[in-house]
């Protein structure tokens, strides 16, 4: 299920940004994800303030060379993946 565009994703309890040897990571129960470029830009905005739609618009600006539709698709896919791993809560 793709996330609702007006909902506000927020990192779930036990999930937070961390850093190790200059590498930003998303720390989660039992696993860590390396964050680079776009994935870091997305996760930094999962603060319970930005809506999914705002995240999409802001990243489309930052990655203006990529096709806007592709950017949107990738973001929705990434958010769904994080949700499936129980790393995000979506607030309405």
């Amino acid at each position: 299920m793709p996330p609702e565009l007006h909902s506000r994703p927020r990192l779930a309890p036990g999930c937070r940004l961390g850093e190790n040897s200059q590498q930003r990571v998303l720390l989660m129960p039992e696993r860590a994800l390396r964050l680079n470029g776009p994935s870091l830009e997305i996760v930094e905005r999962c603060d319970g303030q930005h809506t999914v739609e705002q995240i999409v618009r802001e990243l489309q600006k930052i990655y203006s060379q990529a096709a806007p539709q592709k950017v949107e698709q990738d973001i929705l896919g990434y958010l769904a993946l994080l949700e499936e791993r129980r790393a995000l809560d979506f607030e309405l």
Binding site: N20, M28, R31, Y78, E84
Partner: protein, 376 residues
């Protein structure tokens, strides 16, 4: 350019070094499958607070991301709140694996305030009688109380159920317990047969029918609970075709520190003859990780024998578990006998055959357990 956007988005860190800190072997419970060694270390020999705090900093500098506080029962350490705070301020992700026993609401609040990220609360069953039988103590009611307190805290919670023949038919009740709590993950981990569990394995291994039934049930439930609760399921490797990549490969991802400060590549490494271990009192973690002979012993592939040596799967499972090879084949460098390609797989099959005959299943309904003891 293709799609640089998605492809570079995520990758699991190749070397997410995690540190397992066995703070103490003391424990109010006596689980018949406890993974602690049969020879438990005494309270007097336990590392003091200052040394642990130094180790946490050292670990973070060595690249470790996560620390698992475990034991015994880590809450048996009176300084646990200070240890959590020190590990968190060193930059580690702090995970506590606990029976929930020496805990009250004030202590829980202090742990969360000190920076605890994740709690894994272990359950011995969903029913009071089974749980108490397995843990050799009255423990179940307290765990339910802890679940209730957790509801009001911002903390990631995993329920750990250790699965075996006597409780594998209660999965539905266990799941219901998880659904009524604030847990976002649930682990159904079948007992691994080392230490105390090895001594009790004939009474703990589920039958094939039980296992098939549970796998089917959990697959369905994983679908239903997607996005709500993540269900992890570990089958007993005696029933598997290939072994598990024990510890993610020897000396590849994890280090374990015993209550007295010895640094091991895996929980049971002390049973392997000829290995000796460095202590954090004398050496830094980076040195131990890179130079300890015990960590080198089964790292990579050079130590492998046939059929592992030329097998296509050797980079996936690393030949299985060294301790299991020792226990079952009498040689820690042998192919893990649970592997279907192993020359000694017949030993595992014989045990499974004995367990899966109808008479033995009935005869074993009143087992006599070897309970885990307690250290001095």
């Amino acid at each position: 350019m293709g799609s640089p956007f998605l492809l570079t988005m995520t990758s699991t860190i190749p070397n997410p070094l995690a540190l397992i800190a066995e703070l103490t072997h003391r424990c109010p419970l006596h689980c018949v499958y406890c993974s602690n060694p049969l020879e438990l270390q005494s309270r007097a020999g336990e590392l003091p607070t200052e040394i642990w705090c130094r180790v946490f900093k050292d670990a973070a500098e060595t690249g470790v991301l996560q620390i698992d506080f475990t034991g015994g029962e880590p809450l048996a350490r009176p300084d646990i709140v200070d240890l959590v705070r020190a590990a968190r301020s060193a930059g580690l992700y702090v995970n506590l694996i606990t029976s929930g026993l020496p805990l009250d609401e004030t202590r829980l609040a202090a742990l969360v305030e000190a920076g605890l990220d994740h709690m894994q609360l272990s359950f011995q069953g969903a029913r009071e009688e089974t749980a108490n039988e397995i843990s050799g103590a009255k423990s179940h009611t307290q765990k339910l109380r802890v679940l209730d307190w957790l509801r009001h805290r911002r903390l990631a919670v995993t329920l750990n159920f250790v699965i075996h023949r006597r409780n594998i038919d209660q999965l539905e009740e266990m799941l219901a317990l998880a659904e009524s709590s604030s847990a976002t993950r649930i682990e159904f981990a079948n007992v691994q047969y080392y230490g105390w569990a090895f001594a009790n394995r004939e009474n703990l291994l589920p039958t094939r029918e039980q296992l098939d039934h549970s796998v089917e049930f959990l697959k369905r439930e994983q679908q239903r609970l997607q996005g709500k609760i993540r269900i992890e399921f570990v089958v007993p490797d005696y029933y598997a075709t290939y072994p598990k990549p024990c510890m993610g490969g020897w000396g590849r991802k994890l280090m374990l520190i015993t209550p007295t400060g010895d640094v091991l590549p895996c929980h049971a490494a002390q049973v392997i003859p000829g290995l000796s271990f460095e202590n954090v009192k004398d050496h830094g973690l980076r040195d131990i990780w890179e130079q300890s002979a015990a960590f080198q012993r089964f790292r990579g592939e050079d130590w492998m024998q046939q059929p592992c040596k030329t097998c296509d799967r050797r980079e996936q499972d690393f030949g299985g578990c060294r301790c299991q090879a020792l226990l079952l084949a009498g040689n820690a460098a042998a192919t893990d006998p649970v592997c279907s390609l192993a020359p000694l797989r017949s030993k595992v099959d014989a045990l499974l055959a004995a367990i899966n005959t109808p008479t033995s299943v009935q005869n074993l309904t009143q087992p006599s357990w070897l309970y885990r003891s307690n250290p001095a």
